[in-house]
């Protein structure tokens, strides 16, 4: 009897937490589906009385939302690919090769990660515009890479360190060169770590606002976070329903990411500490 009451209480608590965390999301989806006049209706409705996709229609046809979305996808994908390529190679180098200053480099890299983004904003902007990449998506990719890379390097470093050296050596004895052994044996073992790192980089660049706002002044090259806000600020009163529709669509890629890669993600974060 006591066990059952305990179980019920435990469940109640968990559901309270779930509702508290999920409420803003539900509110976002609900508002996005409301017609304009229902947005400020009193008493408020969580589930729209007259659900409509009108906000989404307006968003996709009357606003530059799709342009921003494409830009965001390009920047996030570009950053992710660049970060993965550099971080995998760098992490492998830091783990496998002994050279003077090895641990110093590893720690310096982390040090840059500790600086607040605002501190680096101006210097990075000056560098980017000096090399002629201001107002370009590639400039943003480079800026995001600078702050995604240190963490990616550390995540992958601990991950690759957990892959037994003997595996690579076995491949080399079996007739593979070092690069071939890396591709055949190390990379497949590192896949969960690479996926975790990729998600981290993707989400970081997908959500970034400050740099995107400062680096890009041309409307057709804006990414979603600053793009959506300027779009909504053009009118005197903020169109909340439209904003919520934009937010819903912005969440979709991240959500898809999590749904498909969740299994690998937990494996990735957990596996770096467990030796195989």
């Amino acid at each position: 009897m006591r066990g059952r009451i305990g179980f019920a209480l435990y469940n109640l608590l968990v559901w309270c937490l779930v509702v508290a965390v999920a409420f803003p999301l539900l509110w976002m989806i609900g508002t996005a589906l409301k017609p304009n006049d229902e947005t400020f209706a009193i008493p408020p409705t969580l589930i729209p009385a007259h659900p409509t996709l009108a906000q989404f229609h307006r968003l996709l046809t009357d606003t530059p939302f799709l342009t921003y979305f494409t830009n965001s996808v390009l920047v996030a994908a570009g950053t992710t690919i660049l970060v993965i390529v550099i971080a995998v190679a760098g992490a492998y180098g830091l783990v496998r090769f002994r050279f003077p200053g090895r641990s110093l480099i590893a720690h310096m890299v982390l040090f840059t990660y500790m600086l607040p983004a605002v501190v680096l904003l101006l210097p990075l902007y000056l560098i980017i515009s000096a090399i002629g990449l201001a107002n370009s998506l590639f400039g943003l990719v480079i800026a995001y890479t600078t702050f995604a890379l240190p963490f990616a390097l550390w995540l992958l470093r601990s991950f690759i360190a957990g892959i037994p050296l003997a595996l690579e050596q076995a491949a080399m004895v079996d007739g593979a060169g070092r690069l071939r052994a890396f591709v055949d044996v190390v990379l497949p073992q590192a896949v969960p770590g690479i996926i975790s790192t990729a998600m981290f980089s993707f989400i970081l660049s997908w959500n970034e606002y400050l740099y995107a706002l400062v680096f890009i002044n041309v409307d057709e090259r804006k990414t979603l976070p600053p793009g959506v806000l300027t779009m909504l600020n053009q009118n005197q009163n903020v169109e909340w329903a439209l904003l919520m529709a934009a937010s819903v669509l912005m969440s979709v890629p991240v959500l898809l990411c999590f749904v498909f890669l969740q299994k690998h993600l937990t494996r990735g974060f957990g596996a770096s500490s467990v030796k195989g």
Binding site: R98, A166, Q169, A170, M172, V173, D174, A176, P188
Partner: protein
Amino acid sequence: MSSVHLKQLRMAFPDGTVGLHGLSLDIADGEFLTFLGPSGSGKTTTLRMIAGLEHPSAGEIWFGTRRVDLLSPADRNVAMVFQNYALYPHMTVRRNLEYPLRKRGVPRGDRASRIAEVTALLKIDGLLDRRPRQLSGGQQQRVALGRAMVRPSEVFLLDEPLSNLDAELRAHMRAELIQLHRSLGRTMIYVTHDQMEAMTMSTRIAVLSQGRLQQLATPHEVYHAPANKFVATFVGSPAMNMLVGRLELAGDVLRFVSEHLTVALPDCRRAELHGAPAQVAAGIRPEDLRLTPGEGDGRVTVVERAGHEAVVWLTLGRQRLVARAAAGTPAEAGTAVAVSVDGGRLHLFAEEGGQRLIGACPA
């Protein structure tokens, strides 16, 4: 297949420690040579240098008439079984076995027939579609052996391949490895710290300690004529008893004299001992120590009865000794025992440096 020649191999690590001090030895074609030694003796380093996974600081490695120490592991054409097997976890057993063949450009048809041959020999043909983590330790061991056997190689290297198996399986795999060596006829180089493996499988044993070769000989010689005190005490279980004493000439008889034990040496050894230092260490194998329970200076501390024999631990003054006795020995802990030894069974070593002065008399 080929012979292997190590010439003045030296390994100095970046921190200044020396792992290997100029090792030279020749391994004949088709031989089963074991590097035996405690951890840190340089045995694994030597094997890894032969494989090309570590680079000697100085010296040369030759396979037959081909110098290989500057070649990459892939170009040396060696096969190796790693201590933890190092099976590729993301590949099935079949893909694991196929990997070395693919890297050497063996055509598909030949690959299948080679794999079929090896898996039949190792009795792993039912496991081809499993992944390494679905296999037991013994099965993983066989797959690792298979991956090394599947293609022709000049030398077959094994780095403590049995150390992760349980005792029963280890004994079983020892017998299988002996058979395998006989049927493959390949040059095998084996690394272990387990003297039982070294004694049972090798054609010759290279005993290493602190980066130096202590003795290179057949298992019989290593056991019956150890080159120095280290080899004498390292090989054999329980270890050889070591007593410090002097050589004395009493009348016509040469004697070994220690605090509680005096042993007359037979005539056959006198000539060999000419000019020997007076301070010596005498080694006595536990099976050469004769016990007479009931009276004497010795005191039994522990009797380990193992069924087919008994191991008796005793003290003689301050000296601890161990003897092998018949299973039914009346010796009991706490009782007195007399100790004697046949002078012909005594191994004598220089107290200084530990070099062997003489071994046992020819029977």
